[in-house]
């Protein structure tokens, strides 16, 4: 969230709308990115499949949560698959791949160790491209209601009557 446009641009409602618009693309399963299955590529409207796969990997490398499946990262960056974003994203991923090449890897996606990918990201973390992706993920990833239970977060409580009878003071280890 670099400015007020961040939160306004990614409200929960918009995220949910975006998710449902994507439909069956996510049913493919959490392994589909690594497999680079052509099935999902048809769901992309503008971005090249390799570009999108790299973007998803980049998203995971920025905010790595090992118990969170790829589908949440896909959802978090799917919004960039639009005509007005495509040029920036393709250029950004191209720069990422160039950096990988400079370090002796075939491409960003071809790097086996997270630490090697993170070194590349660190070298470009001041770039507008990196900041745009990272800033967008703050809401794009953590404001997905579906990921909240994976962190134990319970979300809204008013409709359940609050926690007055549901453990607001149930700590038992102090």
């Amino acid at each position: 969230m670099k400015n007020t446009k961040g939160p306004k641009g990614l409200t929960r409602r918009q995220l949910l709308a975006r998710g449902s618009a994507m439909g069956a693309a996510f049913v493919v399963g959490s392994g589909f990115m690594a497999a680079r299955d052509a099935a999902w590529a048809t769901e992309l409207t503008v971005l090249k499949p390799e570009t999108f796969a790299s973007l998803v990997q980049m998203a995971r490398d920025i905010y790595p949560h090992d118990r969170i499946g790829d589908e949440y990262y896909v959802l978090a960056v799917k919004g960039y698959d639009t005509p007005d974003n495509a040029e920036d994203i393709e250029a950004g991923i191209e720069a990422l791949n160039a950096a990988a090449l400079g370090r002796g890897f075939a491409s960003y996606l071809d790097i086996g160790w997270e630490a090697d990918r993170v070194r590349i990201l660190r070298s470009m973390e001041e770039s507008p491209f990196f900041q745009k992706i990272r800033g967008g993920l703050v809401t794009g990833l953590y404001n997905q209601k579906a990921v909240w239970p994976l962190f134990g977060y319970e979300g809204a409580s008013f409709e359940f009557g609050g926690y007055i009878d549901r453990g607001f003071n149930d700590i038992n280890w102090l």
């Binding site: 703050v138 962190f151 977060y153 008013f158």
Partner: protein
């Protein structure tokens, strides 16, 4: 004459803003039979409209009109367009506040006398004392239903408080309790008791927390003496050749410029918008802005020395359950220069939901150092530190003529540099906060930087001498007798306490003064 009032009715008092200052002033005047038109830039939302969802609520309530920032504070880097986290709605930031309702300590009214000269600080004693304000504090506590005052019981402590309490007591702290809160511990004043729902910052859906949105504002309207116009953004305050204000120009909900005449104008738009309005009202007679003969309008911007400490434990805490600000440690609020700084600070529990924790725990951070902290979200406890910061002349609100808002008006630039005293106090507070959690077995602690400001203070400050400030001890501007300031921008110094109770007490007192002076024919 009863509300609604005519635009040409020059017998009305115009109050700009409907939060803790303006909302209370408008109601108090209406109760005394004074005709009031309150102009509110935001829309009207009631408890049934509030949302238990951090970002959605932010979109509903926050003031996100453009602003710019400068200075060495980290907010300027991390949230350059969002210097403050305040509300644009009927009820103002009293919808968002956590409810902590603490009186100033007696010495805090005399910061200059108590602390002596502090290099770089523009310290001044208030022109009023704790004794002056005592009876008004009592009225404010009764209005807000503050717990642990007036015989009202305290709130029960939630998980987050129980962790804080245990750690604080292990360190030897004595003043540790569930706070004096404007959140009902029992049904009071037609509002239900707290249901421990959390989401206090998003507007209390039970109405258990006091907000002018659903107390003072509708009660004032019920008298027939108060008309509240929402979506009314004031652009300029007008005056006559005698230098008295005569009305205000505002953009109505359809974007049309209207002119409401007035007998008296009170400005209560929070410490960023209030000086901005005075500066944007500059005229041939007042080229530096209204009420600015001292040059102090917009200066001495204070935001409290703040920061947070979050801690991770090896077991669950679930800090988000229940009251957001569920308890307090007050032992460090004293003035004790042996700690390396003047003034003091409070430590109050705070929790953020997962979405806001991601945004605020360490803004800009990424990688496993950050995500491993988030992975432990369920096991986190947290506290907020709030201490007195030093007024500095160069910390100020100015007009940024390069950036215009949706009405074409220059936006406010908020400049803030930390004073060495602020930094020393923050470092002390981080250390103590971390020690509290270490004492209960924290496995990792986070000294979290300040959020966008919620306590915006001091930009039209109160002074005995017109040379030193903008308003007198009644909040009446030194320069223009029928122009008043009714929000936290009046604060001469910030003290270490959350400001709302003091804003409310000053507004009740100011209403009494205005009604009395109007009755005597002096205003």
């Amino acid at each position: 004459m009863a509300a609604p009032f005519d635009l040409n009715d020059d017998s009305v008092v115009v109050v700009i803003g409907t939060g803790a200052g303006g909302g209370v002033l408008a109601n108090e005047l209406a109760q005394k039979g004074v005709s009031v038109v309150a102009l509110e830039a935001g829309g009207r939302y009631l408890p049934e409209d509030y949302v238990n969802d951090e970002w959605e609520s932010f979109g509903q309530l926050a003031w996100v009109d453009p602003r710019t920032t400068s200075g060495d504070w980290r907010v300027s880097r991390d949230f350059s367009g969002l210097p403050a986290w305040i509300v644009k709605a009927v009820g103002g930031t009293s919808i968002h506040w956590a409810g902590a309702s603490l009186r100033f300590q007696p010495h805090e009214w005399k910061a200059k006398t108590t602390y002596g000269a502090v290099q770089g600080a523009n310290l001044l004693d208030w022109p009023i004392t704790g004794e002056d304000l005592d009876p008004w504090y009592t009225l404010a506590e009764d209005k807000l239903g503050v717990t642990r005052t007036g015989g009202r019981p305290g709130l029960p402590g939630n998980n987050n408080f129980l962790v804080l309490e245990k750690g604080a007591r292990a360190l030897g702290y004595k003043e540790v309790h569930t706070g004096r809160m404007a959140i009902n511990s029992v049904d009071y004043d037609e509002r239900v008791s707290c249901q421990q729902t959390g989401f206090c910052f998003q507007g209390c859906k039970w109405g258990a927390k006091w907000s002018s949105a659903y107390t003072d504002v509708p009660r004032g309207e019920a008298t027939g003496n108060l008309e509240v116009r929402d979506h009314a953004h004031v652009a300029r305050i007008l005056h006559n050749d005698q230098g008295k204000v005569t009305g205000v120009e505002y953009f109505d909900k359809d974007g049309n410029l209207q002119l409401q005449k007035a007998r008296l104008v009170s400005v209560a738009g929070n410490s960023i918008e209030s000086p901005r309005l005075l500066l944007n009202s500059a005229s041939a007679m007042f080229p530096d802005g209204l009420a600015n003969s001292s040059g102090q309008v917009g200066r001495n911007y204070m935001r409290h020395m703040t920061g947070s400490v979050y801690a991770v434990f090896d077991k669950r805490v679930r800090m988000w359950r229940g009251t957001t600000m569920a308890g307090i440690v007050q032992d460090e609020a004293r003035h004790d220069p042996s700690r390396g700084f003047v003034g003091g600070y409070e430590m109050e529990t705070l929790s953020l939901g997962l979405p806001f924790m991601a945004a605020f725990l360490d803004p800009g951070a990424w990688g496993r150092e950050f995500t491993s902290a988030m992975d432990s979200y369920e096991n986190m406890a947290g506290l907020w530190i709030v201490g007195e910061d030093m007024p500095q002349e160069t910390n100020r609100i100015t007009l940024n003529h390069d950036v215009k808002d949706q009405w074409g008006l220059p936006v406010a630039n908020v400049h803030f540099d930390n004073h060495p005293n602020d930094i020393a106090m923050r470092n002390h507070a981080y250390k103590q906060g971390q020690a509290i959690y270490d004492a209960v077995g924290a496995t990792r602690t986070f000294p979290t930087p300040p959020y966008p400001s919620t306590h915006n203070l001091g930009t039209n400050r109160m002074s005995e001498n017109p040379r030193d400030g903008v308003v007198n001890k009644w909040g009446q501007t030194h320069d223009i007798e029928n122009l008043f300031i009714s929000d936290g921008s009046q604060f001469t110094t910030g003290a270490s306490e959350n400001p709302t109770l003091t804003i409310v007490a000053l507004a009740i007192r100011q209403a009494d003064y205005i009604a009395r002076e109007m009755g005597a024919g002096n205003l």
